[in-house]
């Protein structure tokens, strides 16, 4: 877990976006020119948005850089220390990406069961043996429900290894 001051995060976000928006603005020069009389071209609207965003991002940056800068600042938007659980979020990202990458090879059934099992096993507040048993049971039943809703009912073509695509 990392504790960061909200002001620092907003400062980072505004700085990051400021550079990114400038880069995008240069990108608009590669967009198609107008082919129709009156039509302002593909870059016109994105440029308007980018100018709008650059203005508000600069305001955000100034609000967090200069203490006395109070333009558009609200009294109830207070500075706090924020806890971010990077490890847990990275783990969530990792298992989600594994799920998507291996869906075609391993199949919907095993992956859905495993995904739920991995997440549930630490969250049941039971001893390891019981926790494993209950998470397996819950994961299996949930996988069957998801299979029924998404594959049988909604006909989404997921890769299946042993359950059928149709039951009627």
């Amino acid at each position: 877990m990392i504790k960061i001051n909200s002001k620092k995060i907003v400062l980072f976000i505004s700085l990051f976006f400021l550079f990114f928006l400038v880069f995008l603005f240069f990108e608009t020069t590669n967009m198609s020119k107008s082919i129709l009389p009156g039509y302002p071209g593909d870059a016109f609207f994105p440029r308007l948005i980018l100018i709008f965003l650059l203005f508000w991002t600069s305001i955000l940056l100034l609000q967090n850089l200069i203490k006395k800068f109070s333009l558009f600042k609200s009294s109830d938007d207070k500075e706090t220390d924020i806890e971010i659980y990077f490890k847990d979020i990275t783990f969530l990202f990792l298992i989600s990406i594994i799920y998507i990458l291996f869906l075609d090879f391993i199949g919907f059934e095993i992956l859905t069961f495993s995904f739920l099992f991995v997440l549930l096993v630490n969250r049941l507040d039971l001893n390891l043996g019981k926790s494993m048993l209950y998470s397996s049971l819950i994961s299996f039943i949930s996988m069957m429900i998801f299979w029924f809703v998404f594959i049988i009912f909604l006909r989404i073509p997921f890769s299946l290894k042993f359950l059928p695509f149709l039951i009627y």
Partner: protein, 492 residues
């Protein structure tokens, strides 16, 4: 008028096996998801959005409307029983609802909330029928320049009133507008694609909706609630609690009428939403009521006022959403997105070209509220149990639903990755008070605004001054400026 005359037929037509099943499941899932702490109507719609992929336009709209209406009521259940509002709009219901429950009458509190919500929902639907068609009639007289200005006006309200800091509200709105420009432009050119195949078709709405509304909530449930203590399962209801009695109706009718009108009016203002609606209804009712000094001590009026307004906002939000194509809330943005994905263009022409669909929406809202009354009344005990579900365990199911739901859209793994990245961004934004809903609203409104601007410019040979200085356009743009100035001065 034609829509009004056809309404009874459409209501009767809704009673087919499939439609009844769709409404019933929408109401059931809506209450269930709404009752989960932290899950608002927008989040509930986001997570159930993939279920509409295989439904017809009318069925999917009715389903999402049922979820939307029911989730607004569902949010009051944890607010009343465990002092944890399901949605921000239900926070004010804690004052009298939770107090009444603590006095030993939780069933009465829940049923007052339910009946008030249904009254609000039905009344605002009737107002919606009249005002929606009238507004669309005026909308039909607007050209693309005026529609562009209306879009800007909508954005000014969204940016000003969403979130605690105006700069953050507008930053989020701008991000939404920008995200919508990714992919093919209306004239075939590519924008912000960076030679990546998965960006060529743009970012699908389902990815934005799930990524920014459902994903941060799943992260919060799984990660932030990791150290949550065990929840005691208790029996909320006692035999002495008789619930709602018919004698309450006469006393509560003035509150219901006042708050329905207030809720519908606030709902019709883009960006205002149910939270502001219920808050204003509570404070105003406290001024108007004869029992003003008893508010906060657990009285029926204290629950009825915010809950009536809260559900009235649903139909109120649909007024600008359907008649002008300006979504009033995150949930309305999802509804607009659904319509666009099914080939229906929201806006004044909807009331001319798709009269049947409009009648179906009106009828659907009425039937939904009647079903909500029945399900809510008889299944109070069941939904009360939802409040004891552990957040960290619930997060596991929300997470897998997000992955499966996003993947289902076009069986494309890149969409899941996009949703996860947006989810992480939304999660960080939520922590620093940058509201994610304006991103979704901006995303939905961006193509509408751009198309109208391009059309207006093409008509006037590219002269922006002619587009902007037409009397109605100028007035609307001036109103947008006033809105921002008002927001800046009142927030200090």
């Amino acid at each position: 008028m034609e829509i009004l005359l056809n309404l009874p037929n459409f209501i009767l037509n809704l009673f087919t096996f499939t439609t009844v099943l769709i409404i019933l499941s929408g109401v059931f899932l809506g209450i269930l998801l709404g009752a989960l702490p932290g899950f608002g109507s927008a989040q509930s719609l986001a997570i159930l959005f993939p279920l509409t992929f295989v439904m017809s336009t009318s069925d999917s709209l009715i389903f999402l409307l049922a979820v939307y209406s029911a989730a607004e009521y569902g949010g009051s259940i944890p607010a009343i029983l465990i002092k944890t509002p399901g949605t921000p709009a239900n926070a004010i219901s804690i004052l009298d609802g939770y107090t009444m429950a603590q006095k030993g009458e939780p069933k009465r509190a829940l049923q007052v909330s339910l009946i008030s919500g249904v009254f609000g929902g039905l009344t605002s639907t009737l107002i919606f029928i009249v005002s929606g068609t009238t507004l669309a009639y005026f909308g039909l007289k607007f050209g693309p320049g005026e529609m562009f200005a209306l879009g800007i006006f909508g954005l000014s309200i969204i940016g000003t009133f969403f979130g605690k800091n105006i700069a953050k509200g507008f930053f989020a709105t701008g991000l939404g507008l920008l995200l919508a420009t990714v992919g093919t432009s209306g004239f075939g050119g590519m924008r912000f694609v960076f030679d990546q195949a998965y960006l060529m078709d743009g970012i699908p709405l389902v990815v934005i909706v799930i990524g920014l509304l459902a994903c941060p909530e799943a992260f919060k449930l799984l990660v932030d609630s990791k150290n949550e203590k065990k929840i005691d399962k208790k029996n909320f209801f006692q035999k002495l609690d008789k619930g709602f009695r018919l004698s309450f109706i006469k006393r509560l009718i003035p509150t219901w009428i006042r708050c329905s009108l207030l809720g519908t009016l606030i709902g019709a203002i883009p960006g205002a939403g149910a939270a502001i609606g219920s808050m204003i209804a509570y404070t105003q009712e406290r001024k108007w009521s004869k029992l003003s000094d008893k508010f906060g001590t657990g009285i029926d009026e204290g629950i009825a006022a915010p809950e009536t307004a809260n559900n009235s906002v649903v139909a109120g939000t649909l007024i600008p959403t359907l008649a002008l194509g300006i979504p009033g809330s995150g949930a309305a943005a999802i509804l607009i997105g659904l319509m666009i994905s099914k080939g229906v263009v929201p806006g004044p022409f909807l009331f001319v070209d798709e009269k049947n669909l409009i009648s179906l929406i009106f009828g659907g809202l009425i039937v939904t509220n009647l079903f909500l009354l029945c399900i809510g009344f008889f299944a109070t005990n069941l939904f009360a149990k939802v409040t004891s579900i552990s957040k960290k365990r619930l997060g596991c199911f929300v997470m897998i639903l997000i992955i499966i739901g996003t993947y289902s859209y076009s069986n494309y793994g890149a969409h899941v990755l996009m949703a996860l990245i947006l989810g992480f961004l939304g999660y960080i934004f939520m922590k620093v008070n940058i509201p994610p809903i304006p991103i979704v609203l901006g995303f939905v409104m961006s193509p509408i605004i751009e198309q109208n601007l391009n059309r207006a410019l093409t008509i006037h040979n590219g002269d922006l001054t002619i587009v902007l200085f037409r009397p109605i356009t100028l007035t609307i743009l001036f109103l947008a400026l006033i809105t921002i100035i008002y927001g800046v001065t009142t927030r200090r």
